[in-house]
Structure formats: structure tokens, C-alpha cells
Amino acid sequence: MAGEFAALAVLVIALLIAFAVGRYPISPGDVVGVLAAKLTGRPPDVPAAAADVILHVRGPRVLAAVMIGAALAVAGTAFQGLFRNPLVSPDLLGASSGAALGAVLGIYFSLDVFAIQALAFLGGVLAVAAVYAIGSVVRARDPVLVLVLAGVVIGALLGAGVGLVKYLADPYNQLPAMTFWLLGSLAASSPSDLIPLFGPVALGTLILAALRWRINVLSLPDEEARALGLPVLPLRIAVIAAATLVTSASVATAGIIGWVGLVVPHIARTLVGPDFGRLVPAAALLGGGFLLVIDTIARTVSPVEIPLGILTAFVGTPFFIWLLAGVSKTWS
């Protein structure tokens, strides 16, 4: 259990730090006061402005970071097992590209934030549905490979769509908004964001957590899994649907955040080993902690936000190279 405790410790420490620091000066004592008052239901004896910041701004953002980090890590873990490939991330089947197209369209038509997020979520879900439909129409010996290839080409097509919308957009007003959105940020997290985020993320994560023992078997070749009496196809659909749900909801709230779904499962694997039964909860804890650390850096080091996509890539790329160098040893 040492691995799980380590992951939990990372999350708890990250939570303590994240609540304590920020651009708005609040003493740690006041933070504790506000949270204690919120939990016990008594009115806090701290300045009202500090309480507002904790409850309306910093708190929702911290929760959103933990939820999204955990969701992306769990989805990535499930996908790496399902596709029997360590280099897979949850946007493999086009969820991120679809969400990106939905969001830039929303910005292009000057919709409000909620509508932009709804379009992004729909875009992600529809993209994966299209990929899956192509994958099931094409009859091939290796259905998983067809699925991956369909994901790559649909992703490229959607990327071209994003490019087209950006090309047509107003260069002074809409284009910067699109660029910022595509780089990923939790700057705009608000309490009202948490509800539409929490629903799909909780549902998807619960499904993946419930199926985690079976992902072990799914990661075997189809014939062997079938020989063990497992309904391979329905299981695969369930895992893909659940992962798509959480990925699309995350991307809709925070924009494109790469790497978390790719990197965190591997860190979790080094902590608790390859058994998905233990891997999924460990990845959830670590993912939440990881994104929370990244987001805390993004919002504290300078008055101007550092986009999450950039920070995660700076951390993720060296790790990915290290992974490529060692991949044959751990995965063969």
C-alpha cells in the first residue's frame, strides 16, 4: 500500500499549498478559518473579501484542477490498457480535437462561456462517436488498430477545421481568445463551472473505477480475453464511452491540457505496479495532485497566467523522452 500512500500524500500536500498561496494575499490562518467555517456552517470571522476569494475563486479552481487531473489520468490509464500501448493518451480517439473545434466555433460565433463549454463537450463526444463508427464499419483483423488509425485521421481533419475557423476569425478579438483557450487554463473556473464538470467526470470515473479489474483482461489479445469468458466488445465500448465523457468534460472546462493523461499513468505504474485494480485509484490521486501543482504554479508565479498546456508540456516532454528510452524494458 506504500504506493497509494505516496500518491495520497502528494495530493494532500498539493491541496494544502494550493489553498494557502495565490495572487490575492490571504494569511493561512484566514484560509483555515474560512474552510472551517464552511465545513461547520458557522459564519467565518475573517474579512469578507478573503472569504469571497477562497469560496468563489481559489476554492473552485483548486477543486476543478484536482477533478480534471484525476479524470485525465484515469482516462489515460484505461486507454493505455485498452490499446495495449504505453504511448496512448485520452485524446487518442479525437476527444480533444473535437472539443477544440467546438470551442473555437463557440468563440467564433461570440457565444457565452457556458455555450462555448457545451459546444466543446459535444464536439469531443461527437468526434469519438465518429471515430468509433468508422472503426466498427471497417472490417479488419485488428479492430483496435483500425480504431487508432481512424482516431488519427479524424483528429487531423478536426485540426484542419480548427485552423479554418482561426483563419476566418477576427484577428483582433476572436483569434487571441481562441489561442488562449487552446493553450488550456483554469483561470476562469467559477463555482457554476463545477456542476457541469462534476457530473460527467464523476460518472465516467466511477464507470472506469468499477471496470478496473476487467481492464487487466482487456489488455490481453481479444482471443485470450474471450477465452476467459469476457464480453470484449461491450466492455471496450463502456471504457471508451467513460473515458470520452471525462476527457470531453475536462477539456470543455479547462481547454487543451496535454500530457497529464500520458505521463501520470506511468508514474502511477512505477508506484503500484501494472495491476489496473490498483493502478486506477493511484493514477486518480496522482493526476489530481499533479495538475493541482501545475495549476498552482500557473496562477502564482507571475501576474499573468502561464497556460497549462505549456507548463505540462515542459514537464511532460523530458519525461516522455525518458519513457521512450526505457519503454522496451517495462512493457515487453
Binding site: 483561470a187 467559477s190 496562477r299 499573468v304
Partner: protein, 341 residues
Amino acid sequence: MIVHRRALLTGISATVFARSARAAEVTDDASRIVAVPDKVERIFVAGPPAATLLYTFAPELLLGWTRKPEPAQCEFLGSGACDKPEVGRLTGRGNTTDLETLLKLKPDLILDVGTINNTYVSLANQVQQQAGIPYALLNGRFDACAETYRKLGALTHREAQGEEFARYAERTIATIKSRIDRIPDAQRPRVYYGRGPSGLETGQGGSINVETIEFLGAHNVAGERKGGMATVSLEQVLAWNPEVIITIEPALAPSIKTDAAWAPIKAVQTGRVYLSPGLPFGWVDFPPSVNRLIGLWWLAKVLYPDQFPEDLRPIARDFFQRFYHISPTDTQIDTVLGTHA
């Protein structure tokens, strides 16, 4: 092909004429010597700031828009302005295919207004050489707008008209500046400029987006660091606690006023959250062109209400007549200013 060749010939003859002693030579804002043909009747604009500037000065010379104005904008542009075609953008990447479109339009001059740097200078030189059409680069900084009109007058052989526009701009700026100069530093408000769907995109110090706000001596809360547009966190905005919030997003002003998360901010509590007018072109931000001149009055009134008691409506009407070539009704003016009941 014939069209193409004829256009090329026109271009070459323009260059030849330019070399003769009688043709005017004008030094543009990039210190390039532009040989201006004797007759300048057709001008191709390279981007939106140039389109706006040329429309205000001489709409009949404008061959077409970079982006066609929206119907809402057309209501405030002189007759015929919106019948002009959309001709695309010449500045920036991926526009080389536009060169044939450009030649087909047979412009006498290509005009670009905006930032002057090596990229734009080399692009101008390249297009000028390839198309054989003189290409002038003018400074798009707000504080240079009077000089820009004088240069435009020289480029179009309308020096007197250029002088008239330049004087108007100088008068406006001098009037506003003289009142602001008297205001002590402590009474100049701290301003947050919010853009983007959630209002968390802002212009850092010296960025073209907050040029007029900083020009009016207000303290841009995000101005400590120099740079362009950037995203900030709401927590940072709360920490800055600005006294005035200015936005250009119609949906944003009401939502800032009612959102609990923005509520602690001084500007929200004192009701100083303002939506900038945006017709026919933005009054504060984009396109970064002379449209911001009328916005200067609006902005000055919002920032320093005591020093600027006058009614904006007659000023706006005068500006619209001179620069946008229409005589708006009272209702139209109220629509633009957002002042109708």
C-alpha cells in the same frame, strides 16, 4: 492573362513615371521612399487599420475591405461603403496568392497602417517589387494619428485635406490632454481592461489594446509588465482591485456586475464597469486605427467624469459626419453610446 499583363504594364508605367522628375516622392514611416504616381484613384489596403483610416479620409479611393463590414456596422457607414468587395488581407502569412487578385484590381497604391518592423518592411518591399505598385507603410500608433493623416494627404495629393484631418485630431487630443494634465496622480483611476469570453484577457503595459487607456494617464493595473495580450486569473484581478473596469464584450459587462466572484472589486461596488461602444468600429481597441479618436472622448468621460461634463452626443455626431460620412439620427447616436433608456 490579358488583365494580368495590362495590370503589370500599369505597374511598370507607374514606376517609370515615378522616376521622372515630376512624380512625387514621399518618405513613408519606415523611411522608405515611395514613388507616388501622378494620379492616385485606387488604393488597395493591406489590413483592417489601413481600411478604416482610408475610409475616414477618402472612401472613394478604397478599392475594397479586408473584411466586409457587418450589417450593424454598415448602418453607420456612408452609402456605398458596404457595396465595396472583400479583397482579403495582404499582411501576414499565406497571402501570396492574393497578388493576382491585387493586380486585377489595378491599384495605384498599396497602403498599410500598423506596426513598423522588419517583417512588414520586407513584405512591403517584396510586394512592391513583384507587383510594380508603390507600397506605403504608415505608423499605426495612436499618438501618431495626426502625422499619419498628413502622410496620407501627401500620398494621395490631397495635402490640404490631410492637414484638415490632422488638425482635428491634434485639437481633440490637445483639448483632452490639457484637462487631464491638471489631474494629480492620486486621482487617476486604476483601470482593468477585460476582454475574452470570461473577461480575463487583458492588455499588458504598452500593448496596442490599451494604448488609449494609458494615453489618458490612467493606471493600467496590468501595466507593470510590458507585453501584448495575456490571460490573468480572477484572483489577480481581485488583488489589483481596480477602480474602473472597461470591456468591449457586450455579454461581459452585465455578467461582471452580477457575478458573485467579481463582487468584491471596487469598480463593481461603485458601479464603474463600462462597456465600450463598438460601432461602426471599436472605440477603444480594434482595429487599432483612427476609430479610437472618438473613443478618446468616451474614455476620458468614463475615467474622469468631473473634468468631462459635456454631452458626448454632439461630439459623436460631428465625428461621424467628418470621419464616417454619415449624419446619424439621435436614436442612432443613442444606440451607439448605449445611452437610450
